[in-house]
């Protein structure tokens, strides 16, 4: 199906892509569009959105600088989230290039939280301050975005040396320079989303992040956590392999410029029930030793077995153990020790073990304490990086 509305516009200063989650109906999308285009802007902006219902109300006022383009390529498909988001990003990039835009933004979070301020915060640093990539920062909740807290943010920070809070967005602002870089890259991008930050950093582009406020999350399907981990970490580990020449030379990490004020959300008052998480970890430790032993060195396996013997109250997974596990899985992904999909799914019980340990440690903690805890984890990632570099360079070397 062709994009409708594109014929009425030849160029635009900026392009915005709205990629609603599957749980959102067209009414929610229409409300969001009405909310965004109701604000007058000094620039010509093209807003790309999924096709609307035939009887939707007219949004645009006469003389408005907004242009609406409906594209069926903008959608999120939960079973293949990373793939569908990548396709939506590509559709927005292509439109931005076709309209010779200076800036481009994609909003893929739940649209009920999206305001025109989000769009401004994602586009303004690109247009006014000539940044190439604007990453999002959401209101900080100690127990939200755990995959990002446990793996994605600390790993990207330790490897590439930039403190990007949400390297996988999913809401981004981009310059035409970055779009050109992605389009002209000799290596085709199957997974656009995780590659954006890595592509920008490794090409020496300017990065910043904007505080977008609270983000609404869809309720995750607990039984599909393995699949979710595989979808998120697969492309991330592919990038680790792709940019190995760059990250092996990066040392420490630097903060990047932030727009807006950080916001914090208090953790729930109720006592945290981590029994389910611990059970998953213990079940994994009992049954997946054969699989883990193909990925992890003996010392880590011994450490994991020791944790199983600890009672619920004393259960703690040291950061050093967890970070070694993540690095060893990233290496096994490169070496293809076993099927990559199986390997990433086999990480789930250990990840849940770390989450249980983190939750027990931060029960009733303030948001500031949670931030300090995250910073401590990031430092361990950075301090353990030489181990990863060494294993990456000499994977066959004896590793007790």
């Amino acid at each position: 199906m062709a994009d409708s509305g594109v014929a009425q516009i030849e160029s635009a200063d900026a392009v915005i892509g709205l990629v609603p989650p599957a749980s959102r109906d067209s009414q929610a999308v229409e409300n969001t569009i009405a909310r965004i285009v109701g604000t007058e802007v000094p620039l010509r902006i093209a807003l790309i959105h999924p096709p609307l219902s035939p009887n939707h109300t007219e949004f645009l006022k006469a003389g408005s600088q907004w242009h609406l383009i409906a594209s069926p390529r903008l959608a999120q498909d939960p079973p293949s989230l990373a793939q569908s988001l990548g396709d939506s990003f590509r559709a927005t990039f292509e439109m931005a290039q076709r309209l010779n835009s200076r800036a481009c933004a994609v909003v893929a979070s739940d649209l009920s939280a999206t305001t025109v301020d989000w769009v401004t915060l994602l586009l303004q640093p690109v247009i006014d301050d000539r940044f190439d990539l604007v990453a999002p920062c959401y209101a900080r909740h100690p127990f939200e975005g755990m995959i990002n807290r446990a793996i994605v943010y600390p790993l990207v920070r330790a490897l590439y040396g930039k403190q990007i809070r949400n390297p996988m967005g999913p809401d981004f602002g981009m310059s035409s320079r970055l779009l050109l870089q992605i389009a002209g890259s000799s290596r085709p991008r199957m997974h656009t989303l995780p590659s954006l930050a890595a592509e920008a950093i490794t090409n020496g582009m300017e990065l910043c992040q904007s505080q977008l406020g609270p983000r609404i999350y869809a309720v995750p399907d607990f039984t599909n956590l393995g699949s979710l981990l595989a979808q998120l970490l697969g492309p991330l580990f592919l990038d680790v392999e792709r940019y190995a020449a760059h990250w092996q030379h990066a040392r420490g990490s630097q903060p990047i410029r932030e727009f807006g004020q950080p916001m914090y959300v208090e953790a729930p008052e109720s006592t945290m029930d981590v029994s389910r998480l611990m059970e998953s970890f213990q079940l994994g430790a009992r049954n997946l030793q054969d699989v883990w032993s193909m990925i992890l060195p003996p010392s880590t396996l011994v450490e994991l077995r020791r944790m199983v013997r600890n009672g619920a109250a004393q259960f703690r997974m040291p950061d050093a153990t967890w970070v070694h596990v993540v690095y060893d899985f990233a290496l096994a992904h490169r070496l293809r020790t076993i099927s990559r999909d199986q390997m990433l799914r086999a990480l789930t019980p250990i990840y849940l073990g770390w989450v249980a340990s983190y939750a027990l440690e931060l029960e009733h903690a303030s948001p500031e304490a949670a931030e300090q805890r995250l910073e401590k984890l990031c430092v361990v990632y950075e301090e353990t990086k030489p181990y990863f570099v060494s294993r990456w360079r000499w994977p066959d070397r004896f590793n007790p």
Binding site: F143, I147, V219, P220, T223, S280, N287, L335, S339
Partner: protein, 233 residues
Amino acid sequence: MWEQVGQTLNQSTVGVLSRLASLLPGLLALLVAVLFSAALAWLIGIVLRRVLHGIRFDERLESWGVTGLAEYSPQQSPALLLTRVAAWSIVLAGLVLGLGAFEATLTSELTVRMFEYLPNLAAAIVVLIAGSLVARYLARSVLIESVNMNLQYARLLSLGVKWLVMVCAIAMALDDLQIGGGIVHLAFGILFGGIVLALALAVGLGSKELVCRSLERESSRAPADVEEPIRHI
């Protein structure tokens, strides 16, 4: 009488020698064909490997999204796999060519039947190897998924799947080898059905309490649409 014995022995020796002599060109042709094809395979292998490395075949394949092939390749390199497949195909073609020349002089029916049986043997070996690989892969997948779904009997399920596939592969291999005939079909049916029944009984009856506990735990937990304090994304 001695003269007749001597004559018979003489005729027999001449017969055996002449039969051997008639086999010699075929043997020689087989040897030459195998040696020539091996040399050709070695040469083509080198050239192909250099060409594939030159065009960065492995990286291109990965960028096209074909990543599964590498998992089954030696040293995780599809280029090496392709090179080896090409080289061994040439050696095999040489062997078949040589056997063709050999066959013309082949007189022993037993030998002919043995050679006729070779494809069945090769097919059975391939089926067994493929079956074992598939069984291992599926067993591991089931084990990981079952653990991720918090199923207490994950190992039992994984073992069941592994043996279902292995029994199926062994039955197919025996069928290819034409060993057992109807007995194999019957035994396969009984064994396959037996494993399924055993699994059903083990999960349904033997692990009744385990399943009850598991289900009780599930039902006592908060339903999926109730917000959990920990969110993974």
